[in-house]
Symmetry: C2
Subunit: 430 residues, 2 copies
Amino acid sequence: MVSTALLTDHYELTMLQATLADGTAGRRSVFEVFGRRLNGGRRFGVVAGTGRVLDALADFRFDPAEIDFLRSARIVDDTTCDWLADYRFTGDIWGYPEGELWFPGSPILRVDSTFGEGVILETLILSILNHDSAIASAAARMTLAAGDRPCIEMGTRRTHEEAAVASARAAYICGFAATSNLEAGRRYAIPTAGTAAHAFTLVHDTERDAFTSQVASLGSDTTLLVDTYDTAQGVATAIEVGGAALGGVRLDSGDLGDVARTTRAQLDAAGNADTKITVTSDLDEYAIAALAAAPVDGYGVGTSLVTGSGSPTSGFVYKLVAREAGDGTMLGVAKKSKDKASVGGRKTALRRLNSKGVAEAEVIGIDITPRDDGDDRELMVPLVEQGKRVHDATLHDARARLQASLGELPAAARRLSKGDPAIPTIFEEG
Amino acid sequence: MVSTALLTDHYELTMLQATLADGTAGRRSVFEVFGRRLNGGRRFGVVAGTGRVLDALADFRFDPAEIDFLRSARIVDDTTCDWLADYRFTGDIWGYPEGELWFPGSPILRVDSTFGEGVILETLILSILNHDSAIASAAARMTLAAGDRPCIEMGTRRTHEEAAVASARAAYICGFAATSNLEAGRRYAIPTAGTAAHAFTLVHDTERDAFTSQVASLGSDTTLLVDTYDTAQGVATAIEVGGAALGGVRLDSGDLGDVARTTRAQLDAAGNADTKITVTSDLDEYAIAALAAAPVDGYGVGTSLVTGSGSPTSGFVYKLVAREAGDGTMLGVAKKSKDKASVGGRKTALRRLNSKGVAEAEVIGIDITPRDDGDDRELMVPLVEQGKRVHDATLHDARARLQASLGELPAAARRLSKGDPAIPTIFEEG
């Protein structure tokens, strides 16, 4: 694999250079990833990207190509280049598994290492978690709104080509049934799906020719796009061409609720009770919820998903929260910048559940393990121990984790309207 | 290079399969990329990503690894796999060069090829142009607001790790002076820059130790981050440690205008008239404009830039606008979907300029070259001819293009407030 080591900020390496020179690069340190607030008045956030962080960490090495660049561009000095050429992360990383929920202050990832080993991971870890969790946090609201109806991820064309692959992955964690993205199919074994574009109809002499060709080539269980010219006529032609076995039709324009009702009636009258209706066209969680009473069988979601439905990034930060003092003890540290003060100390977290299994609080212990009152659940799991990856949760594990964690939340957490976090965050000190 | 061919949607390949079977895959076709509207009430958009499209096209090939996936996942049939294994784009592509402005309906990219060769490029072309142009359209407003003061791109941590590299590139096209992203430095030779993080101060026993270390390692022309504890004290310490030759200080919290004024006075009183002030902290074009009267020497811009400042995608679509008819002639085609109708026909575009060189309209000819009234400027350039890349504009060319095109706009185009496009779009038919 190509090295991921330069997917980082210039200052990570110059800070390394200065601390190597003065000796503080070797101080034991604790870095923590957390978000100060939930975006957009949401009730919960979803952690995604942890697995990709671990993949990227395995490829985070300074090979000769990277070192040559650093030397020739004079980013850092020779001592630092030599140190980087030998770099392998040898510390520990704990964190929330993918699919877990997060709330303000949740210690989503914790890096225990020397300062030098940990500081240079900041940018890459944040890029992955900020992106993937933003997509997941939107996606989970969409699948909640869709209920039992499948959502298909179709947003590739509206985001960066590699962000699209990561978006498909994050959406799948959140219960999406499939993606249109073939690379996500190859890389992560996510089911892929697709219908047809308007161009397919337009390249044929008639809509009937297009439908006939699609059914002949892909089988009658295919989904025909019926709104290129006149939707009612398109549905009629689809029924004639596909027969009772026609898999589905896709509606991509107009008032989707109205058109779905008309189309359902038209299909049923023709004996196509099993032909499904998929809707697409700028859907977000609110539009999905608004279609709950319409006869829709599935949702194709694009732009809104891959742009985080109004919140394209998570706002996670990566902060030094503790470090070795001159006497060898560990010392909690925090900046005091106005409006951006952070909480020092090594954190551990659990979700407080009542006796009925309903979540009541995110409890974060500062330099202690928080008190478990009997029904609580520990949130952090070991990801890397002494540099070795020890966590290999699958996307199916992550899907299950999300469903279980959502199931613990009080009912109000499912509301799409803006509000406070579903549960409060409580800090406990030793 | 790794193949880019699977960075695409499932349906592109199934449409190919059906059209290969019925023969329409061989019909000559014209596809066009355009946007229906400018996002967020902006006055203009900026085209970026064209060069990346050409890079990606060169790597768009179905090697055995891609074919194996398509076969094993049963995405398409053997005939289609065989066709794809031999695929090389052999058509023509014209488009707007990077740095050019776009308006509603501008034919930003035009692909002339067979249907089969052109349809499978849709998703990848849109991913790149939608992303990069969204970042550029935000970035250009930021550099306009900043005037002569340099902007530095620092958003890597708030977007997907590869989108970050593309964002740095798009920002550079729009006049940003540098990026924090090292991979953008390596891949595109964009200048990189950086200061230090709060963690650097916190890992040291005192702020003075941190500043002393940074100046010793990086020289006194470095920029010190002064707001970890108390900013006034931080500035005082920075002056003592760095002396009159201190390069700069960075302010990352509080009311930046107020803090900049106080800090400037403090620096000047100490004889540090040449020490520059860089501000960071959730800056966008509006915050940059609001700081115009403050004694700020440079802006570091992060989250807002890489998320398109409220418009993270461009909304470009890729539509079949003409294709070969049964009799061999070319026929304009357009869908009639409600609210999404498109304009058929092969487009050519020019920017109408008055005798003083001021832009007055975006003139788009449908199946004709629009009439040049004497001072107009043609907008589309050849990018690929018979499959061969013929366009190699540098990022410096793109920077110059943007400045020249912005210089043509009427003054109102520089307004940050919401409004109509700076110039109207006029369609001319033969």
